[in-house]
């Protein structure tokens, strides 16, 4: 419906006041010193097993033939490319949306598009080499291909696309070669423009969309009917989207891939305006790899109802006053927090770019957070504690096998998320090169997992919160149970700040009582925030979402247990000037509503 972006994690590129990154706040790393009863972790990660390769679809052979033809022609040119890749995304989408028991959308679309990646120069230095003043990542063209068959049309599109991308690459390469003012590197770390990787040949069976549309239309309509019990709440919608996608990749190194996945997502949204004009929104989504994995209609409806209940409670809740003090981030909220505060800053391509803040560029080997914390990103993880993970894949969009990127071990920064564009000192990809069709690949998060070595029970976590409240002589602490999304600024001339939008926030009083508050914003700087983590609980939760950045939208997840931070800075949300409706909601039936006094 109105705000489909609610559960979105976003990396913003605004230009704000100049402020250098703040890298020297040791914070209060008191966690190690606390003497707490430890509790066993409840974390089970199910890794995907790569099935036997099947026969390739005819499209892969056709693409290979076209690639060979292009290669022969391109080899005669000056400059000749040293690498060409063709990636085809074949997508089928179904979206069903209902509101107040009425169907709004039942749409279906299929498309097949081509991305061409073409490199001129050498792996040490090529047309993608950084040019000072240029930002990384870009929108490229995605070329429409025939939906099926169409050998001659395929050939025609590939030819035109290759020609166009060659012109672009050549023009860029001439600029790279003409560049004379490049700074000499200040360190001796090895660097390059394109990593050397093994070629892979692997085909998964192609998945097809199998959706009983009539059945699911009825179910979504039925779920949306829950709104009838909350007529004072203004807007709500329930939607199902099923995306079935097969990506095909061939390149001049001999890689041939055929990978198929299905993303099923139920989106539930509720929105109203509080009496003071504040817009209150709750969003929930259920992400699975298959329709069969979705809960039944009653369970989905129950989740929808709980959003309405939350909104009802939020309407009555008091607006928060500014606060600095300890807080618990529940698992899902902590996941979003790590995605924004940490995940976007360890993307490999941000470490070299002169226009990036490079928060972590020179911190490999240094302690950056609680020594018991380990963080990795693992796209090969299919499920966590039984929950399907959104960021799952077998090979990335550059044909590199998905693998666990060990980012933090024992609180020490260990590495970055890497595509085939190397970072200083890291010359191999770790399978995190991702894109939405039509964008240039960059390193992205997939399944981020915060995995502490030592954990306590949630009850212990709360008791530590309360003792921190007492120690800091505060009237209460805070607990964040849901964060709807956020954004972060990584560019050098930005504030380097992050912002997340918490929606369910509770004051926790010394007697353990909790009180819902609204209108909360968390802002901060990443290194400071990370250094404030004191203790982790053993209750892992998964946040599945979509993440937008330079290379478009990609599905991701972030998993974390609940965390206690010694200090969180909270501001009151900017006042919105929305106004509640003047007339009461139309009542069921056709009897006129009582006339309002003027």
């Amino acid at each position: 419906m109105r705000r489909a972006e609610a559960a979105v994690l976003f990396l913003a590129f605004s230009v704000a006041a100049c402020k250098p990154p703040n890298a020297n706040d040791p914070g209060a790393n008191g966690g190690a010193g606390l003497n707490l009863p430890l509790a066993p972790k409840q974390l089970s990660l199910e890794l995907a097993s790569r099935g036997a390769s099947v026969a390739f679809d005819a499209l892969v052979n056709d693409l290979s033939t076209e690639l060979e033809r292009s290669q022969r022609g391109l080899a005669t040119l000056n400059p000749a490319p040293y690498f060409v890749a063709y990636q085809v995304a074949d997508q089928s989408n179904v979206r069903i949306e209902a509101s107040d028991g009425a169907l709004l959308t039942n749409a279906r679309a299929t498309n097949r598009s081509l991305d061409v990646d073409l490199r001129i120069g050498s792996q040490a230095k090529d047309n993608t080499h950084r040019i000072p003043g240029e930002s990384s990542g870009s929108l490229k063209a995605a070329y429409a291909l025939p939906l099926a068959g169409g050998r001659e049309a395929l050939s025609n599109v590939v030819w035109l696309a290759t020609d166009q991308e060659y012109d672009i690459a050549k023009a860029r390469w001439l600029r790279v070669e003409a560049q004379t003012d490049e700074e000499e590197p200040k360190d001796n770390l090895p660097r390059a423009d394109f990593s050397i990787e093994e070629a892979v040949v692997y085909a998964q069976p192609r998945l097809e969309t199998t959706l009983d549309e009539a059945l699911w239309t009825d179910r979504i309509r039925e779920v949306s009917r829950a709104a009838a019990d909350y007529s004072e709440i203004q807007r709500s919608s329930a939607a199902l989207s099923v995306v079935t996608e097969t990506r095909y990749l061939v390149n001049t190194e001999g890689t041939k891939l055929q990978l198929s996945r299905r993303s099923v997502r139920v989106e539930l949204q509720v929105q109203t305006i509080a009496s003071d004009g504040m817009v209150l929104e709750r969003f929930d989504s259920i992400d699975t790899h298959d329709l069969e994995a979705l809960p039944n209609t009653a369970a989905i409806t129950q989740r929808f109802r709980s959003l309405f209940e939350d909104i009802r409670a939020l309407r009555e809740a008091k607006v928060i006053e500014p606060y600095v003090g300890p807080a618990i981030l529940d698992g899902r909220a902590a996941g979003v927090f790590f995605h924004e505060v940490f995940g976007h800053r360890i993307e490999g391509h941000r470490q070299d770019a002169e226009n990036e803040g490079q928060t972590f560029a020179n911190m490999v080997g240094q302690q950056i957070m609680l020594p018991s914390l380990t963080i990795y990103d693992d796209p090969s993880a299919l499920r966590l504690n039984g929950v399907d993970l959104n960021g799952f894949y077998l090979f990335d969009d550059e044909g590199v096998a998905a693998q666990r990127a060990k980012l933090v071990e024992g609180g020490v920064l260990n590495g970055f998320l890497l595509s085939r564009t190397p970072a200083r000192g890291f010359l191999r990809s770790n399978g995190h090169g991702r894109r939405e069709p039509g964008f240039a690949v960059v390193a992205r998060q997939a399944n981020l997992v915060v995995d502490p070595a030592e954990t306590v029970t949630p009850a212990t976590l709360k008791s530590v919160l309360l003792s921190e409240v007492e120690r800091q002589k505060l009237p209460y602490g805070l607990r964040f149970s849901e964060i709807s999304g956020g954004f972060t600024q990584t560019q050098r001339y930005d504030t380097q700040a992050f912002k997340v939008i918490p929606v369910m926030v509770y004051k926790v009083y010394p007697d353990g009582r909790e009180e819902l508050v609204r209108g909360v914003d968390i802002e901060g700087t990443p290194l400071t925030a990370l250094s404030k983590i004191l203790v982790a609980a053993n209750d892992f939760q998964v946040f599945n979402g979509l993440c937008g950045a330079e290379s478009g939208w990609v599905p991701v997840s972030a998993t974390s247990p609940s965390l206690l931070l010694s200090q969180v800075e909270v501001a009151r949300q900017e006042q919105s000037d929305e106004e509640a409706p003047l007339l009461p909601a139309p009542s069921a039936g056709v009897s006129p509503t009582p006339r309002r006094a003027r």
């Binding site: 391109l74 009425a102 679309a109 939906l147 068959g149 035109l160 003047l582």
Partner: protein, 579 residues
Amino acid sequence: MKYARIFALGAATLLLALASTARLNAETHGSVRVDAAPKAAPKVEAAGELPAELVPLVSAMDQELARSMKELARPNQAGPYYLGYWLLEVVHQHTEAKLGALLASEKGHTRYFRVELRVGSHDVDNSNAYPMGFGDDGMSFGVPLEQAPLDPNLQASRRSLWLLTDAAYQNALDVLEQKQAEQKSSSRLSSQAADFTKETLRSIITPKAQPLPAQQQLEEQVRSASAVFTAFPEVHDANVLADAWTLTRVLVSSEGVKSYEPSRFVRFSVQASSQAADGMPVVRSAAAFGDVDAGTLTQLARQIAEDVRRVRNAAIIEDYNGPVLFEGEAAAQLVYELLGATLSGTPGGGSGDSPWLQRLGKRVLPAQFDVFDDPTLEQYRGTKLWGGYAFDDDGVAAARVPLIERGRLRDLLMSRTPNEHRTKSNGHGRTAMGGWSQAAVANLLVEARGGLSRQALRNRLLSAVKEEGGEFGLLVRALEPREYSTSGAAAPQPQLIVKLYLDGREEPVRGAELFDLTPRALKDIIAVGNDPSAYHTTPLVAGIVPVAASIVSPSLLLEDIEIRKPSQRHELPPVLPRP
């Protein structure tokens, strides 16, 4: 489906509901409402009936309209003086093919509610204030729009209208307050024109539209037409597209109007491009409106392919000053670009007042010309017209408007937004449903006395060339089709231009650019054909529905046109041979 039964009485219920709406409006609630109430129940012109599946949505419109007009008001402020609810149903089919293969095949079905709400008075209200952008609640340029149920669900429809109306009202008050503050502080003279015309409207209900072609048929047509290009290797890229729409509009307004009109619209397009040996791009595109058969579409594709082949091998034009004959469809498009796109009498807006507003009564064309716009016509001298409707997007009945008589400008196209010279609409308010309506062409027809045959017209061109001591004249056969006119922007560039030598020989040329072409050029038309040809276009695109227009004109010979060879550097030809 339970509501369908309750409201299945159809047209009879509709008429009863109409009467009750009128009664509700007759009640007054404070002085501001008086002029909103019609003197009597409006006339109804019913040639069809509202389909049963829309009845619950329209009932919701009735109920919320009555409730809002009666009760909606901020404390101590007036409620709306006008409320118009639109239900828009759009069915859109799209297919696209290249070299015999399907690139896209889509079909969509969407409904929208659109709420046009006015506070203040006809003299000064919240319209004509140009609020920019799309805000919350689908508020687009001051007129909120939101998806409406595909189910016959009365209660969900009422909720949707309730929230849209509230958003429209609160926004309208803010806009009006801001507008009045600006008018007070502004030193410039405020416009004498009011904001909304007073009209006596009638309800109009038209028959159902014919069904759209089957999706499979549209797929097959574009596929087979696109296969034509396999025989033309010198064409680098070519697509054939089909778009078919049914657009159903229902208006229920506080003036007592309840109107319903479904319309239907099919368009095929062929787009082909290549590069000459020197790299200069060669582009040719054309559209065919209506249910053209497979053979006609294939023939059009072949024609386009042959044009590209011919132009690609043609010599580059040299700079030229002199007479130019615009033949057939190119003449109709020229009339649209130079005249039709700016004949709107709607004041202000992004592009400013119509350049014609101050020329009312003056000569703008040679005396043998008459120009009128008539949305009530379905065809003109055997040519099907696509710009027609029974009522415009203000709910005003379509009417023929004589615009130019004996070369003199008599009138402009008017919506319900008046200007300093015109206080009534003439049934030409149109919008793609992206904001307030504005006046725009529907079916623009150019007639001229003393039309010549094509051959006589060419002879006239050659005698003009001879007089000036030239060796050849130019024929423009096709201009680049444009989705809409960006008035004031560069003229559309010729896609097909031919040298006509004194001995009657034709030679295609490429790279011609029309330079400095303004509406004044039309005053110097030296001869006209007797061959009315049509150009169909979509003049308004900022919105969610297609708005079609047809322009019919004979061929036109213009006395003094400046044509230049291409000024831009172009790409290199493809580095790889075509597979």
